[in-house]
């Protein structure tokens, strides 16, 4: 009989004891986490995208808890049961563990399965249905049904949306140093400092910039998309119930970057329609002066470029009579 088998006979059922403790603590930990913590894990459930993000985070937590308990139980068990004074020749720790086939195989199999599952789950979540909250550039590979039609219609001023229509609502996010503004092509192309979107609606955020690189980050919506000048970066999400959210710029963009945020609202469809039609009417004078709705805008050459662009391009207006006279 070898020394190892002798030790195992003298100290039986270590693995079984640890496994039982690990299973009990893991189940209790996961259940407690599910009940008391999981519903409050950011970013919440204001949109389908956010809800899926929360689910992903919770799955990671639920998997991490057994791993955490596994490490702690093995460490504690080793310290308590296999200390040198108590047992100078342990069967399942120290040098013995390095040659213990059960320990080696268990560790390799468990960690391999865990990591492979997370890799597979992450890939699935990213590609199949969770990835659309991030900006996908001007030609999204993963777009909801009806999104392409709505985007095309928005560009020619024919996008429509009404409560219950289930149409995708395009909203343009315009970043500039140092504020976001929002255009609603479905409602005459008015521009506003307020971001309000209807509940239970798929939103197509078309994100661009008038100057440097910014990033549109509506955390509670599960949306984050870079705002690049000259680029239309499209991100989708589907809102659920009414609620409030915060928009922040998440790309360091200059002195007032830290102040480049605003609050937003998901409102009921009726309230949103009321707000949008009222704002469309209130802003109509200024909307008529805005450039035609487009996915991107080139800063004007008439001085509005800040001296950065060549003065040979005037996409906003052919009127160049400013400076001719004092206003009355």
């Amino acid at each position: 009989m070898t020394n190892q088998s002798t030790n195992e006979n003298n100290q039986p059922h270590h693995l079984r004891k640890m496994t039982v403790m690990w299973v009990i603590l893991s189940v209790v930990g996961d259940v407690l986490f599910s009940i008391f913590v999981a519903p409050h894990v950011p970013p919440g459930r204001l949109t389908e995208t956010a809800a899926k993000d929360q689910t992903d985070f919770n799955i990671l937590f639920e998997m991490a808890i057994p791993v955490l308990f596994g490490v702690w139980i093995y460490l504690s068990y080793s310290l308590i049961v296999w200390g040198d004074k108590r047992n100078p020749n342990p069967a399942f720790s120290g040098d013995a563990a390095r040659t213990n086939m059960k320990a080696q195989v268990s560790w390799i199999v468990i960690t391999t399965v865990t990591v492979l599952f997370l890799a597979g789950f992450g890939t699935y979540a990213l590609i199949v249905d969770h990835g659309s909250g991030g900006g996908q550039g001007p030609n999204p590979a993963f777009s909801p049904s009806g999104a392409l039609k709505a985007e095309t219609a928005a560009l020619v001023g024919k996008a429509t949306w009404s409560p219950g229509s289930k149409n995708v609502l395009p909203v343009q996010v315009i970043a500039q140093q140092w504020k976001f503004t929002y255009r609603y092509p479905t409602f005459g192309g008015f521009e506003s400092s307020q971001l309000i979107v209807p509940a239970d609606t798929t939103i197509a955020f078309n994100v661009t910039s008038l100057d440097v690189i910014h990033s549109f980050w509506a955390y509670q919506l599960g949306v984050k998309a870079d705002a690049n000048p000259g680029v239309n970066n499209v991100a989708f999400t589907t809102t659920k119930d009414p609620g409030n959210f915060i928009v922040r710029c998440s790309e360091l963009c200059g002195i007032w970057h830290g102040s480049m945020y605003n609050s937003g609202k998901v409102e009921s469809q009726a309230d949103f329609e009321s707000w949008a039609t009222n704002t469309e009417a209130a802003n109509s004078t200024n909307t008529a002066l805005l450039p035609a709705f487009a996915w991107t805008y080139t800063p004007d050459a008439n001085g509005a470029d800040g001296g950065y662009y060549n003065d040979d391009n005037d996409p906003y207006s052919t009127v160049e009579t400013y400076g001719a006279k004092q206003p009355s």
Binding site: I174, Q176, Q177, W178, K179, T181, E191, S193, Q194, L210, D211, V212, G254, I255, W256, S259, M260, N262, N283, T285, N286, L289, L290, P291, Y297, P299, D300, N302, G303, A304, D305, G306, G307, Y308, Y316, S317, V319, T321, Y322, G323, A324, K325, Q326, P327, S328
Partner: protein, 229 residues
């Protein structure tokens, strides 16, 4: 070194590290004092409006630091009546602020005409040389030189430019009886807090996208409103 000596050295270094960390945290949490803010709360009667007078100048000239060619705001000190190069103010909360801006700079079309619309003021209007307006078409007239905007309060007012072809445009602050537009508007401060305000016209000519230089330096084209109870 004896054990006591080593122990004393270790404890001493640890205490120094703790002090440095605490000092850094406090410095981060309290980066400055009230100094540098022009205080409009001194002698203010609760409920009474506060009058703020500003001016904008295309080139601040000598006497206000090394950037003599930079565009800048100036503020009239409410106590002394002197023009000062300071863009931070302490204002009372929930109070009507009557703002008068003497705009001495020329203008141009806005990069985003959205800033041509008056927002966040009482009545949604401002006056240009005594005439009320809600929207200014920056593609006409002299364009817009600057804006006064407090994003946190959704306040934005376009400051219409003077004729850029004039030969007597002010180039030395403070400007006096030279061509300028007078803009007035009122807004109400909200709850106590710190709000930044800024110009949304990229008027830092020669700098990246026009938003460097004076647009990115405190006391030129932006500052803070410290609203206190």
């Amino acid at each position: 070194m004896s054990l006591t000596g080593r122990l004393s050295t270790a404890i001493g270094l640890f205490l120094v590290a703790v002090v440095l960390i605490v000092w850094s945290l406090l410095a981060f949490l309290h980066p400055g004092t009230a100094g540098g803010y022009t205080d409009y709360t001194v002698g203010h009667t609760a409920g009474a409006p506060v009058n703020v007078t500003l001016q904008t100048v295309g080139a601040i000239g000598s006497g206000f630091g090394e950037h003599t060619t930079w565009v800048s705001y100036l503020q009239k000190d409410p106590t002394t009546g002197k023009w000062i190069h300071d863009t931070s103010m302490t204002l009372p909360a929930n109070t009507v602020i009557n703002v008068t801006i003497d705009q001495y700079d020329s203008g141009s079309p806005l990069r985003n005409q959205q800033w041509g619309q008056v927002t966040g003021t009482i009545g949604g209007t401002a006056t240009l040389n005594g005439k009320s307006f809600k929207v200014y078409n920056s593609y006409t007239g002299n364009g817009v030189g600057h804006t006064f905007a407090v994003p946190g309060l959704d306040v934005s007012v376009p400051l219409v430019g003077v004729n850029g072809n004039l030969t007597n445009i002010c180039g030395q602050a403070p400007c006096g009886n030279l061509p300028h537009n007078v803009l007035t508007f009122s807004f109400k401060t909200g709850a106590p807090g710190s709000y930044n305000w800024q110009c949304f016209v990229p008027c830092g000519l020669g700098y990246l996208y026009g938003n460097g230089g004076p647009m990115s330096t405190l006391n030129y084209m932006g500052g803070f409103l410290k609203v206190v109870a």
